[in-house]
């Protein structure tokens, strides 16, 4: 590499460093954003957009399909039953729900501790 190029590179790096420093001084938010993007490079550029909002709108969705359940049972009739996945958020398709997967929703039978 010729001496000239090295000098140019150094100059560019300095400018970049300065800009980074400037960014950090001007906006801690931007620094945090850079941190996040470094950890999750696949993060989309539309943060408040539909994905986030749609997830919010779908809160509480639980799936159980008796057809899926029976077909999955039939499919692995000869094999060992798969153990229930630790995450209980989505139960669809081949995964056979067990009674533990579908938490029993019972009303509170105990009085509030605030009233104690």
């Amino acid at each position: 590499m010729s001496g000239d190029n090295e000098d140019t590179q150094t100059a560019d790096e300095t400018t970049l460093d300065e800009k980074e420093v400037q960014d950090k001084v001007i906006s801690p938010e931007k620094a945090e954003e850079a941190k996040l993007k470094a950890r999750y490079p696949n993060l989309g550029n539309k943060p408040g957009g539909s994905d986030l909002l749609r997830k919010r709108l779908q809160k509480g969705q639980k799936y159980f399909d008796s057809g899926d359940y029976n077909m999955a049972k039939a499919k692995i009739k000869n094999k060992q039953l798969p153990t229930a996945a630790p995450e209980k958020t989505e139960i669809t398709g081949d995964h056979i729900p067990t009674p533990q997967d579908l938490p029993q929703r019972k009303p509170s039978l105990v009085a509030s501790k605030l009233a104690g």
């Binding site: 938010e29 943060p47 408040g48 709108l57 509170s108 605030l114």
Partner: protein
């Protein structure tokens, strides 16, 4: 500083009064407090929790022996307001968590409140019974019918005093009007109607009519892929019965006038602070999402809470807030981890004091903040069992942001983000506040000499 005027805060010293709830560190989900609300006189204080239960406290009348001591709040009534449900058609689990409680102004001996979970609003009547009829001719006191042969005289039954019994009964159930999750209810100043708001729609109800409601705001796009914002809170104006506001996840507040048209999709005013495009980051929109909006008692101002600040808006000026208070600016350089642990989505509420001179909101580490608008002073206080000696004065807390941490200061990295104060309430007339930690309710009051 006039006592009881809820006046400016600079002279006020806050002291511990009471704490409700268990000391147990192991918190059951159901015990998580989800809403706190004083009634219009301040005599009653209601809480709702994740288990669908409502607990109402009543202030004891001031004792003549200790006129300087305000009455304590003791349990008045408790009931199960909502129960968990499952919508089989949509495969949707409906939480029993009470999202909001709103009291109706008192019209007769009974008290009424609206409590709501994600899908259903209920009107509860809380009434007292302190006498019962005795001396029936045909029945014994325990209810069994008397042998008619033993009845030889006729008497008039009389009411005799009995131990106070407080009964709560659901008078109306307003169901099946919300596809999305209800975040707010607000009683109109006409005392006849109220609104309920979910993520995309706002409905207007009449308190007497449960089988229908009017949709007054609908921001659902025709194509859900185009969804860009949701409704986060809504409130009726305190004395103009035609006016209400709703806030959005994009940091805007729209004010609507119901006289203009039946469907209020077109706002009368839109309040939005312009943003410097150079400062825009991945987090900008998320932290600008408004988690609470509250009109001042006077009706001249409204306050909004976003993730890092509290803003006061003059209803006559849409272009920017008239006051901005930083709640915990030091979190701006922690946004990455707050996004990862979901804390950035925490919904803090805010409230005004009785004469609109001070505003209050919660933060992390069981800290809460008060901002005195007149004296331009703010204070950070902590709700903790360590400061729970009766009438002990709360010491202001400070978070150190720089490298050097002074004695008594706590560094940002030591803050407990699991200890969040999302719900606070201020007595409508006096300097008494209710502050909810995860599962405990603290009551603080002004130190009176």
């Amino acid at each position: 500083m006039a006592a009881g005027a809820g006046g400016g805060n600079c002279d006020v010293q806050w002291c511990f009064s009471q704490v409700k709830g268990s000391i147990d560190d192991d918190v059951a989900e159901a015990d998580i407090i989800s809403t706190v609300e004083f009634n219009h006189s301040g005599e009653l204080l209601a809480t709702g929790d994740k288990g669908g239960r409502v607990v109402i406290f009543q202030q004891e009348p001031e004792s003549k022996n200790q006129p300087q001591c305000r009455g304590e709040y003791n349990v008045y009534s408790t009931f199960q307001s909502h129960e968990p449900e499952f919508d089989y058609l949509k495969s949707l689990e409906i939480e029993e968590k009470i999202n909001k409680i709103r009291w109706l102004p008192q019209k007769n001996a009974a008290q009424f409140l609206l409590s709501t979970n994600d899908k259903t609003i209920k009107l509860w009547k809380i009434s007292e019974r302190d006498k019962r009829p005795e001396g029936y001719n045909l029945k014994e006191e325990d209810g069994r019918y008397r042998d008619l042969n033993t009845v030889t005289t006729l008497r008039v039954p009389v009411f005799r005093p009995m131990d106070l019994m407080v009964e709560a009964s659901p008078r109306r159930v307003f169901a099946n009007a919300h596809t999305y999750h209800i975040n707010s209810t607000s009683v109109n100043s006409d005392c006849e109607t109220y609104l309920s708001a979910d993520d995309l729609r706002i409905n207007l109800w009449h308190l007497e009519i449960t089988d229908r409601s009017f949709n007054i705001v609908d921001i659902k796009p025709a194509n859900m892929e185009e969804l860009t914002e949701v409704i986060t809170a809504a409130e009726f104006h305190p004395n103009q019965c035609n006016t209400f506001v709703y806030s959005s996840s994009k940091g805007t507040i729209r004010m609507c006038d119901m006289r203009a048209s039946a469907l209020c999709d077109k706002h009368a005013k839109m309040f939005e602070e312009p943003e410097d495009p150079n400062n825009r980051s991945f987090f900008s929109e998320i932290i600008s999402s408004i988690s609470d909006v509250k009109f001042s008692h006077s009706g001249r101002y409204m306050m909004t809470r976003d993730y890092l600040s509290v803003k006061i808006w003059d209803l006559n000026m849409e272009t920017r807030p008239v006051e901005t208070y930083q709640v915990h600016e030091y979190l701006r350089s922690k946004l990455c981890s707050l996004y990862e642990n979901d804390c950035i989505f925490d919904k803090f509420e805010c409230c005004w004091n009785g004469n609109d001179s001070v505003v209050m909101t919660g933060s992390y580490n069981n800290f809460f903040r008060m901002f005195d608008r007149g004296y331009r002073q703010d204070v950070t206080l902590e709700a903790s069992r360590e400061n729970s000696k009766p009438r002990s004065v709360l010491k202001p807390r400070k978070v150190s942001t720089g490298g050097k941490r002074k004695k008594d200061e706590i560094s940002v990295d030591s803050l407990d983000f699991n200890k969040k104060i999302l719900h606070t309430a201020w007595h409508p007339l006096d300097n008494i506040i209710a502050v909810a930690t995860t599962n405990n309710l603290y009551i603080f009051e002004e130190k009176l000499n």
